[in-house]
Symmetry: C2
Subunit: 213 residues, 2 copies
Amino acid sequence: MAKEKHPTRERILDAAEELFANKGYEGVSVRQIMRQADADVSLAYYHFKSKQDLFDQVMLRRVEYLNSIRLKALEAVEERHPDDAPSVEEIIDAFTHPLLDLLAKEHDEWKYYFQLIAQINNSPEWGGELMTRYFDPLVRRFIDALRKALPDCDEQDLFWSYHFLSGALTLTFAETKRIDNLSGGVCRSSDMASINERMPAFLAAGFKALCSR
Amino acid sequence: MAKEKHPTRERILDAAEELFANKGYEGVSVRQIMRQADADVSLAYYHFKSKQDLFDQVMLRRVEYLNSIRLKALEAVEERHPDDAPSVEEIIDAFTHPLLDLLAKEHDEWKYYFQLIAQINNSPEWGGELMTRYFDPLVRRFIDALRKALPDCDEQDLFWSYHFLSGALTLTFAETKRIDNLSGGVCRSSDMASINERMPAFLAAGFKALCSR
DNA sequence: ATAAAAATTCAACGCTCGTTGAATGGTAGT
DNA sequence: ACTACCATTCAACGAGCGTTGAATTTTTAT
Protein backbone atom coordinates (compact mmCIF):
# COMPACT_ATOMS: atom_id res chain seq x y z
CA MET A 1 0.00 0.00 0.00
CA ALA A 2 2.97 2.29 0.57
CA LYS A 3 1.11 4.69 2.82
CA GLU A 4 4.08 6.61 4.10
CA LYS A 5 4.54 8.61 0.93
CA HIS A 6 2.23 11.38 2.02
CA PRO A 7 2.71 13.80 4.90
CA THR A 8 0.50 13.27 7.90
CA ARG A 9 -1.95 16.06 7.22
CA GLU A 10 -2.77 14.65 3.82
CA ARG A 11 -3.03 11.11 5.13
CA ILE A 12 -5.59 12.36 7.64
CA LEU A 13 -7.54 14.13 4.92
CA ASP A 14 -7.44 11.02 2.74
CA ALA A 15 -8.70 8.78 5.52
CA ALA A 16 -11.37 11.27 6.55
CA GLU A 17 -12.54 11.69 2.97
CA GLU A 18 -12.97 7.97 2.44
CA LEU A 19 -14.63 7.29 5.77
CA PHE A 20 -16.95 10.31 5.67
CA ALA A 21 -17.99 9.23 2.17
CA ASN A 22 -18.74 5.69 3.28
CA LYS A 23 -20.39 6.28 6.64
CA GLY A 24 -21.34 9.93 6.78
CA TYR A 25 -20.05 12.62 9.11
CA GLU A 26 -21.68 11.29 12.24
CA GLY A 27 -21.04 7.68 11.33
CA VAL A 28 -17.28 8.03 11.71
CA SER A 29 -15.24 8.86 14.79
CA VAL A 30 -12.04 10.83 14.84
CA ARG A 31 -10.42 7.77 16.33
CA GLN A 32 -11.42 5.63 13.36
CA ILE A 33 -10.06 8.23 10.97
CA MET A 34 -6.75 8.42 12.76
CA ARG A 35 -6.52 4.65 12.94
CA GLN A 36 -6.88 4.49 9.16
CA ALA A 37 -4.40 7.34 8.76
CA ASP A 38 -2.02 5.42 11.02
CA ALA A 39 -1.47 8.31 13.41
CA ASP A 40 -2.26 9.20 16.99
CA VAL A 41 -5.71 10.55 17.80
CA SER A 42 -4.48 13.83 19.14
CA LEU A 43 -2.69 14.60 15.89
CA ALA A 44 -6.09 15.28 14.42
CA TYR A 45 -6.32 18.24 16.79
CA TYR A 46 -2.82 19.39 16.03
CA HIS A 47 -3.50 19.63 12.30
CA PHE A 48 -7.17 20.64 12.52
CA LYS A 49 -9.25 22.62 14.96
CA SER A 50 -12.01 20.08 15.38
CA LYS A 51 -13.82 17.24 13.68
CA GLN A 52 -16.03 19.76 11.92
CA ASP A 53 -12.98 21.69 10.74
CA LEU A 54 -11.47 18.46 9.44
CA PHE A 55 -14.64 17.88 7.46
CA ASP A 56 -14.53 21.40 6.07
CA GLN A 57 -10.93 20.97 4.98
CA VAL A 58 -11.80 17.70 3.28
CA MET A 59 -14.36 19.61 1.27
CA LEU A 60 -12.16 22.63 0.58
CA ARG A 61 -9.15 20.63 -0.54
CA ARG A 62 -10.67 19.79 -3.88
CA VAL A 63 -13.42 22.28 -4.52
CA GLU A 64 -11.35 25.08 -6.02
CA TYR A 65 -9.66 22.83 -8.54
CA LEU A 66 -13.04 21.39 -9.43
CA ASN A 67 -14.60 24.78 -10.04
CA SER A 68 -11.63 25.96 -12.07
CA ILE A 69 -11.62 23.09 -14.54
CA ARG A 70 -15.36 23.32 -15.02
CA LEU A 71 -15.16 27.04 -15.63
CA LYS A 72 -12.40 26.46 -18.16
CA ALA A 73 -14.52 23.86 -19.92
CA LEU A 74 -17.38 26.32 -20.19
CA GLU A 75 -15.12 29.10 -21.46
CA ALA A 76 -13.69 26.75 -24.05
CA VAL A 77 -17.18 25.99 -25.32
CA GLU A 78 -18.02 29.66 -25.47
CA GLU A 79 -14.84 30.49 -27.34
CA ARG A 80 -15.79 27.89 -29.88
CA HIS A 81 -18.94 29.95 -30.48
CA PRO A 82 -17.83 33.58 -30.79
CA ASP A 83 -20.96 34.60 -32.66
CA ASP A 84 -23.84 32.26 -31.87
CA ALA A 85 -24.73 30.64 -28.56
CA PRO A 86 -23.38 27.16 -27.82
CA SER A 87 -25.87 24.32 -27.85
CA VAL A 88 -27.56 23.21 -24.65
CA GLU A 89 -25.83 19.89 -24.94
CA GLU A 90 -22.39 21.45 -25.22
CA ILE A 91 -22.99 23.52 -22.10
CA ILE A 92 -24.21 20.58 -20.08
CA ASP A 93 -21.30 18.54 -21.32
CA ALA A 94 -18.92 21.20 -20.03
CA PHE A 95 -20.69 20.98 -16.68
CA THR A 96 -20.51 17.22 -16.32
CA HIS A 97 -17.62 16.03 -18.44
CA PRO A 98 -14.76 17.30 -16.27
CA LEU A 99 -16.21 15.59 -13.22
CA LEU A 100 -16.91 12.28 -14.89
CA ASP A 101 -13.42 12.28 -16.36
CA LEU A 102 -11.92 12.58 -12.90
CA LEU A 103 -14.09 9.71 -11.75
CA ALA A 104 -13.13 7.60 -14.73
CA LYS A 105 -9.51 7.35 -13.65
CA GLU A 106 -8.53 3.93 -12.50
CA HIS A 107 -7.35 5.06 -9.06
CA ASP A 108 -9.86 6.14 -6.43
CA GLU A 109 -8.46 9.58 -5.72
CA TRP A 110 -11.68 11.39 -6.57
CA LYS A 111 -14.20 8.66 -5.93
CA TYR A 112 -14.82 9.30 -2.25
CA TYR A 113 -15.00 13.06 -2.67
CA PHE A 114 -17.80 12.71 -5.19
CA GLN A 115 -19.61 10.20 -3.02
CA LEU A 116 -19.46 12.78 -0.27
CA ILE A 117 -20.96 15.39 -2.56
CA ALA A 118 -23.75 13.01 -3.49
CA GLN A 119 -24.67 12.62 0.16
CA ILE A 120 -24.41 16.32 0.93
CA ASN A 121 -26.54 17.31 -2.04
CA ASN A 122 -29.29 15.03 -0.75
CA SER A 123 -28.99 15.87 2.93
CA PRO A 124 -31.93 17.97 4.12
CA GLU A 125 -29.85 19.30 6.97
CA TRP A 126 -26.74 20.60 5.22
CA GLY A 127 -27.49 20.05 1.56
CA GLY A 128 -28.80 23.44 0.67
CA GLU A 129 -26.23 25.46 2.54
CA LEU A 130 -23.08 23.54 1.67
CA MET A 131 -23.81 23.12 -2.02
CA THR A 132 -24.71 26.78 -2.23
CA ARG A 133 -21.51 27.83 -0.51
CA TYR A 134 -19.20 25.74 -2.64
CA PHE A 135 -20.78 25.68 -6.08
CA ASP A 136 -23.17 28.58 -6.47
CA PRO A 137 -20.99 31.02 -8.45
CA LEU A 138 -20.08 28.35 -10.96
CA VAL A 139 -23.64 27.09 -11.24
CA ARG A 140 -24.96 30.60 -11.84
CA ARG A 141 -22.42 30.98 -14.56
CA PHE A 142 -23.68 27.82 -16.27
CA ILE A 143 -27.32 28.79 -15.87
CA ASP A 144 -26.53 32.11 -17.52
CA ALA A 145 -25.06 30.24 -20.45
CA LEU A 146 -28.09 27.98 -20.63
CA ARG A 147 -30.41 30.97 -20.53
CA LYS A 148 -28.66 32.38 -23.56
CA ALA A 149 -28.95 29.06 -25.36
CA LEU A 150 -32.66 28.92 -24.50
CA PRO A 151 -33.68 32.57 -24.81
CA ASP A 152 -37.42 31.93 -24.63
CA CYS A 153 -37.19 29.73 -21.56
CA ASP A 154 -39.28 30.55 -18.54
CA GLU A 155 -37.15 31.12 -15.45
CA GLN A 156 -38.93 28.47 -13.40
CA ASP A 157 -38.45 25.91 -16.14
CA LEU A 158 -34.79 26.78 -16.29
CA PHE A 159 -34.17 26.36 -12.57
CA TRP A 160 -36.22 23.19 -12.25
CA SER A 161 -34.36 21.74 -15.18
CA TYR A 162 -31.10 22.45 -13.41
CA HIS A 163 -32.52 20.81 -10.32
CA PHE A 164 -33.22 17.60 -12.27
CA LEU A 165 -29.74 17.77 -13.75
CA SER A 166 -28.22 18.11 -10.31
CA GLY A 167 -30.10 15.08 -9.02
CA ALA A 168 -29.14 12.89 -11.95
CA LEU A 169 -25.51 13.94 -11.72
CA THR A 170 -25.05 13.46 -8.01
CA LEU A 171 -26.76 10.07 -7.95
CA THR A 172 -24.16 9.08 -10.51
CA PHE A 173 -21.50 10.21 -8.05
CA ALA A 174 -22.86 7.96 -5.33
CA GLU A 175 -21.99 4.78 -7.26
CA THR A 176 -24.41 2.74 -5.21
CA LYS A 177 -24.32 -0.24 -7.59
CA ARG A 178 -28.10 -0.20 -7.65
CA ILE A 179 -28.15 -0.05 -11.44
CA ASP A 180 -25.75 -2.97 -11.54
CA ASN A 181 -28.33 -5.15 -9.82
CA LEU A 182 -31.31 -3.64 -11.59
CA SER A 183 -29.85 -4.15 -15.05
CA GLY A 184 -28.52 -7.59 -14.28
CA GLY A 185 -24.99 -6.46 -15.10
CA VAL A 186 -25.82 -4.65 -18.33
CA CYS A 187 -24.80 -1.36 -16.69
CA ARG A 188 -22.14 -0.67 -14.09
CA SER A 189 -22.21 2.28 -11.68
CA SER A 190 -18.55 2.90 -12.22
CA ASP A 191 -18.77 3.02 -16.02
CA MET A 192 -18.30 6.76 -16.45
CA ALA A 193 -17.68 6.47 -20.17
CA SER A 194 -21.19 5.15 -20.69
CA ILE A 195 -22.62 7.95 -18.60
CA ASN A 196 -20.56 10.52 -20.42
CA GLU A 197 -22.08 9.31 -23.66
CA ARG A 198 -25.63 9.54 -22.40
CA MET A 199 -26.17 12.09 -19.67
CA PRO A 200 -25.68 15.32 -21.65
CA ALA A 201 -28.03 14.12 -24.41
CA PHE A 202 -30.63 12.99 -21.88
CA LEU A 203 -30.52 16.23 -19.91
CA ALA A 204 -30.32 18.53 -22.93
CA ALA A 205 -33.49 16.95 -24.29
CA GLY A 206 -35.15 17.59 -20.94
CA PHE A 207 -34.12 21.25 -20.91
CA LYS A 208 -35.37 21.75 -24.44
CA ALA A 209 -38.65 19.98 -23.76
CA LEU A 210 -39.41 22.13 -20.73
CA CYS A 211 -38.24 25.39 -22.21
CA SER A 212 -40.21 25.15 -25.43
CA ARG A 213 -43.62 24.10 -24.20
CA MET B 1 -49.41 19.58 19.32
CA ALA B 2 -51.65 16.91 20.90
CA LYS B 3 -49.05 14.20 20.80
CA GLU B 4 -50.82 11.71 23.02
CA LYS B 5 -53.26 10.65 20.34
CA HIS B 6 -50.96 7.93 19.02
CA PRO B 7 -49.87 4.79 20.82
CA THR B 8 -46.30 4.68 21.97
CA ARG B 9 -44.96 2.46 19.24
CA GLU B 10 -46.16 4.85 16.57
CA ARG B 11 -44.86 7.88 18.42
CA ILE B 12 -41.45 6.24 18.48
CA LEU B 13 -41.63 5.50 14.77
CA ASP B 14 -42.69 9.09 14.05
CA ALA B 15 -39.86 10.56 16.07
CA ALA B 16 -37.32 8.17 14.58
CA GLU B 17 -38.49 8.90 11.06
CA GLU B 18 -38.12 12.63 11.47
CA LEU B 19 -34.77 12.51 13.22
CA PHE B 20 -33.23 9.88 10.94
CA ALA B 21 -34.32 12.01 7.98
CA ASN B 22 -32.76 15.15 9.41
CA LYS B 23 -29.53 13.80 10.83
CA GLY B 24 -29.01 10.36 9.33
CA TYR B 25 -28.94 7.01 11.08
CA GLU B 26 -25.67 7.57 12.91
CA GLY B 27 -26.40 11.20 13.61
CA VAL B 28 -29.24 10.39 15.99
CA SER B 29 -29.15 8.51 19.26
CA VAL B 30 -31.88 6.29 20.61
CA ARG B 31 -32.05 8.65 23.57
CA GLN B 32 -32.81 11.63 21.32
CA ILE B 33 -35.52 9.68 19.56
CA MET B 34 -37.16 8.67 22.81
CA ARG B 35 -36.91 12.19 24.16
CA GLN B 36 -38.81 13.44 21.13
CA ALA B 37 -41.29 10.59 21.44
CA ASP B 38 -41.72 11.54 25.10
CA ALA B 39 -41.02 8.06 26.39
CA ASP B 40 -38.36 6.30 28.41
CA VAL B 41 -35.21 5.12 26.62
CA SER B 42 -35.71 1.48 27.42
CA LEU B 43 -39.13 1.48 25.79
CA ALA B 44 -37.33 1.58 22.48
CA TYR B 45 -36.01 -1.87 23.29
CA TYR B 46 -39.39 -3.12 24.44
CA HIS B 47 -41.05 -2.23 21.14
CA PHE B 48 -38.05 -2.89 18.87
CA LYS B 49 -35.15 -5.26 18.96
CA SER B 50 -32.42 -2.68 18.39
CA LYS B 51 -31.70 0.69 16.85
CA GLN B 52 -31.19 -1.02 13.50
CA ASP B 53 -34.52 -2.80 13.84
CA LEU B 54 -36.20 0.49 14.65
CA PHE B 55 -34.76 1.93 11.47
CA ASP B 56 -35.97 -1.05 9.46
CA GLN B 57 -39.47 -0.69 10.86
CA VAL B 58 -39.47 3.00 9.99
CA MET B 59 -38.75 2.01 6.41
CA LEU B 60 -41.21 -0.88 6.30
CA ARG B 61 -44.11 1.05 7.77
CA ARG B 62 -44.74 2.97 4.58
CA VAL B 63 -43.12 1.06 1.78
CA GLU B 64 -45.93 -1.38 1.02
CA TYR B 65 -48.54 1.32 0.74
CA LEU B 66 -46.19 3.29 -1.48
CA ASN B 67 -45.60 0.41 -3.84
CA SER B 68 -49.29 -0.42 -4.01
CA ILE B 69 -50.45 3.05 -5.04
CA ARG B 70 -47.75 3.32 -7.65
CA LEU B 71 -48.61 -0.07 -9.08
CA LYS B 72 -52.27 0.95 -9.22
CA ALA B 73 -51.32 4.15 -11.04
CA LEU B 74 -49.41 2.16 -13.64
CA GLU B 75 -52.23 -0.32 -14.08
CA ALA B 76 -54.68 2.52 -14.53
CA VAL B 77 -52.53 3.95 -17.30
CA GLU B 78 -52.28 0.58 -18.99
CA GLU B 79 -56.02 0.03 -18.80
CA ARG B 80 -56.51 3.33 -20.51
CA HIS B 81 -54.50 1.88 -23.42
CA PRO B 82 -55.90 -1.59 -24.04
CA ASP B 83 -54.58 -1.71 -27.60
CA ASP B 84 -51.58 0.58 -28.00
CA ALA B 85 -48.76 1.23 -25.54
CA PRO B 86 -49.07 4.18 -23.16
CA SER B 87 -46.80 7.13 -23.81
CA VAL B 88 -43.49 7.43 -22.02
CA GLU B 89 -44.74 10.51 -20.26
CA GLU B 90 -47.83 8.77 -18.93
CA ILE B 91 -45.73 5.93 -17.53
CA ILE B 92 -43.27 8.27 -15.84
CA ASP B 93 -46.15 10.29 -14.48
CA ALA B 94 -47.59 7.15 -12.90
CA PHE B 95 -44.18 6.55 -11.33
CA THR B 96 -43.76 10.02 -9.85
CA HIS B 97 -47.23 11.50 -9.43
CA PRO B 98 -48.40 9.36 -6.49
CA LEU B 99 -45.28 10.24 -4.51
CA LEU B 100 -45.37 13.94 -5.23
CA ASP B 101 -49.05 14.03 -4.31
CA LEU B 102 -48.29 12.59 -0.90
CA LEU B 103 -45.58 15.20 -0.46
CA ALA B 104 -47.89 17.98 -1.55
CA LYS B 105 -50.18 17.54 1.45
CA GLU B 106 -50.00 20.37 3.88
CA HIS B 107 -49.06 18.18 6.86
CA ASP B 108 -45.60 16.63 7.08
CA GLU B 109 -46.65 13.02 7.44
CA TRP B 110 -44.70 11.86 4.40
CA LYS B 111 -42.03 14.52 4.20
CA TYR B 112 -39.46 12.91 6.45
CA TYR B 113 -39.91 9.48 4.94
CA PHE B 114 -39.07 10.80 1.51
CA GLN B 115 -36.11 12.73 2.83
CA LEU B 116 -34.87 9.46 4.26
CA ILE B 117 -35.24 7.79 0.89
CA ALA B 118 -33.29 10.59 -0.75
CA GLN B 119 -30.39 9.99 1.62
CA ILE B 120 -30.50 6.24 1.27
CA ASN B 121 -30.60 6.36 -2.51
CA ASN B 122 -27.41 8.43 -2.45
CA SER B 123 -25.61 6.52 0.26
CA PRO B 124 -22.73 4.46 -1.12
CA GLU B 125 -22.91 2.17 1.87
CA TRP B 126 -26.57 1.13 1.96
CA GLY B 127 -28.02 2.79 -1.10
CA GLY B 128 -27.79 -0.06 -3.55
CA GLU B 129 -28.97 -2.76 -1.22
CA LEU B 130 -31.85 -0.99 0.50
CA MET B 131 -33.35 0.55 -2.61
CA THR B 132 -33.10 -2.78 -4.36
CA ARG B 133 -34.78 -4.60 -1.50
CA TYR B 134 -37.69 -2.21 -1.17
CA PHE B 135 -38.40 -1.00 -4.68
CA ASP B 136 -36.97 -3.41 -7.21
CA PRO B 137 -40.10 -5.37 -8.15
CA LEU B 138 -42.04 -2.18 -8.75
CA VAL B 139 -39.22 -0.55 -10.67
CA ARG B 140 -38.82 -3.58 -12.92
CA ARG B 141 -42.52 -3.40 -13.63
CA PHE B 142 -42.17 0.23 -14.72
CA ILE B 143 -39.11 -0.46 -16.81
CA ASP B 144 -41.00 -3.22 -18.58
CA ALA B 145 -43.72 -0.74 -19.41
CA LEU B 146 -41.17 1.76 -20.68
CA ARG B 147 -39.53 -0.90 -22.79
CA LYS B 148 -42.84 -1.53 -24.51
CA ALA B 149 -43.33 2.19 -25.07
CA LEU B 150 -39.80 2.43 -26.54
CA PRO B 151 -39.50 -0.85 -28.42
CA ASP B 152 -36.33 0.08 -30.29
CA CYS B 153 -34.52 1.25 -27.16
CA ASP B 154 -31.15 -0.20 -26.30
CA GLU B 155 -31.13 -1.85 -22.88
CA GLN B 156 -28.25 0.24 -21.60
CA ASP B 157 -29.98 3.44 -22.66
CA LEU B 158 -33.12 2.29 -20.90
CA PHE B 159 -31.41 1.56 -17.59
CA TRP B 160 -29.26 4.66 -17.60
CA SER B 161 -32.35 6.72 -18.34
CA TYR B 162 -34.01 5.21 -15.31
CA HIS B 163 -30.90 6.02 -13.30
CA PHE B 164 -31.17 9.69 -14.26
CA LEU B 165 -34.85 9.63 -13.42
CA SER B 166 -34.11 8.16 -10.01
CA GLY B 167 -31.56 10.86 -9.22
CA ALA B 168 -33.83 13.69 -10.28
CA LEU B 169 -36.74 12.28 -8.30
CA THR B 170 -34.92 11.62 -5.08
CA LEU B 171 -33.17 14.98 -5.04
CA THR B 172 -36.66 16.43 -5.17
CA PHE B 173 -37.50 14.38 -2.08
CA ALA B 174 -34.60 15.87 -0.15
CA GLU B 175 -36.11 19.36 -0.19
CA THR B 176 -32.76 20.93 0.56
CA LYS B 177 -33.93 24.47 -0.32
CA ARG B 178 -30.93 24.80 -2.59
CA ILE B 179 -33.11 25.76 -5.54
CA ASP B 180 -34.80 28.36 -3.38
CA ASN B 181 -31.51 30.16 -2.93
CA LEU B 182 -30.27 29.55 -6.44
CA SER B 183 -33.41 30.89 -8.07
CA GLY B 184 -33.71 33.83 -5.70
CA GLY B 185 -37.13 32.65 -4.59
CA VAL B 186 -38.52 31.95 -8.07
CA CYS B 187 -38.71 28.24 -7.19
CA ARG B 188 -39.43 26.56 -3.89
CA SER B 189 -38.25 23.05 -2.95
CA SER B 190 -41.61 22.27 -1.41
CA ASP B 191 -43.63 23.27 -4.47
CA MET B 192 -44.61 19.80 -5.62
CA ALA B 193 -47.25 21.11 -8.00
CA SER B 194 -44.57 22.86 -10.06
CA ILE B 195 -42.48 19.71 -10.12
CA ASN B 196 -45.45 17.59 -11.05
CA GLU B 197 -45.98 19.84 -14.05
CA ARG B 198 -42.40 19.59 -15.20
CA MET B 199 -40.63 16.41 -14.18
CA PRO B 200 -42.49 13.88 -16.34
CA ALA B 201 -42.08 16.05 -19.44
CA PHE B 202 -38.39 16.63 -18.71
CA LEU B 203 -37.66 12.97 -18.10
CA ALA B 204 -39.80 11.65 -20.94
CA ALA B 205 -37.86 13.85 -23.36
CA GLY B 206 -34.65 12.42 -21.96
CA PHE B 207 -35.81 8.83 -22.40
CA LYS B 208 -36.90 9.51 -25.96
CA ALA B 209 -33.69 11.31 -26.85
CA LEU B 210 -31.52 8.46 -25.60
CA CYS B 211 -33.63 5.69 -27.01
CA SER B 212 -33.87 7.04 -30.53
CA ARG B 213 -30.35 8.03 -31.25
C1' DA C 1 26.57 22.44 18.26
C1' DT C 2 22.60 24.75 19.84
C1' DA C 3 18.40 26.85 20.14
C1' DA C 4 13.77 27.33 18.23
C1' DA C 5 9.99 25.35 16.09
C1' DA C 6 7.26 21.68 14.32
C1' DA C 7 5.47 17.19 14.82
C1' DT C 8 4.19 13.39 17.59
C1' DT C 9 3.03 10.62 21.81
C1' DC C 10 0.65 9.57 26.17
C1' DA C 11 -2.78 9.87 29.51
C1' DA C 12 -6.82 11.54 30.77
C1' DC C 13 -11.40 14.62 31.23
C1' DG C 14 -16.45 14.39 31.28
C1' DC C 15 -20.06 12.81 28.44
C1' DT C 16 -23.02 10.09 25.63
C1' DC C 17 -23.66 5.90 23.33
C1' DG C 18 -26.56 1.21 22.59
C1' DT C 19 -28.32 -2.04 25.42
C1' DT C 20 -30.04 -4.81 29.48
C1' DG C 21 -32.40 -6.71 33.75
C1' DA C 22 -35.09 -6.19 37.41
C1' DA C 23 -38.86 -3.82 39.57
C1' DT C 24 -43.37 -1.40 38.98
C1' DG C 25 -47.87 -0.01 37.25
C1' DG C 26 -52.06 -0.87 34.48
C1' DT C 27 -55.64 -3.67 32.29
C1' DA C 28 -58.38 -7.79 30.93
C1' DG C 29 -60.40 -12.12 31.81
C1' DT C 30 -61.83 -15.37 35.41
C1' DA D 1 -60.14 -10.77 44.36
C1' DC D 2 -56.70 -13.08 41.61
C1' DT D 3 -54.01 -13.86 37.88
C1' DA D 4 -51.91 -13.24 33.72
C1' DC D 5 -50.07 -10.25 30.58
C1' DC D 6 -48.84 -5.96 28.48
C1' DA D 7 -46.63 -1.49 29.15
C1' DT D 8 -43.57 1.42 31.49
C1' DT D 9 -39.91 3.09 34.75
C1' DC D 10 -35.38 3.10 36.98
C1' DA D 11 -30.66 2.24 37.43
C1' DA D 12 -26.80 0.67 35.53
C1' DC D 13 -23.00 -1.80 32.33
C1' DG D 14 -18.91 -1.23 29.51
C1' DA D 15 -17.47 1.10 25.50
C1' DG D 16 -16.53 4.71 22.70
C1' DC D 17 -17.04 9.64 21.90
C1' DG D 18 -14.65 14.65 20.95
C1' DT D 19 -11.26 17.08 22.96
C1' DT D 20 -7.21 18.78 25.77
C1' DG D 21 -2.55 19.68 28.10
C1' DA D 22 1.75 18.34 29.04
C1' DA D 23 5.76 15.75 27.86
C1' DT D 24 8.62 14.10 24.24
C1' DT D 25 10.81 13.40 19.87
C1' DT D 26 12.09 15.07 15.31
C1' DT D 27 13.20 18.61 12.12
C1' DT D 28 14.92 23.18 10.87
C1' DA D 29 17.72 27.39 11.20
C1' DT D 30 21.60 29.58 12.97
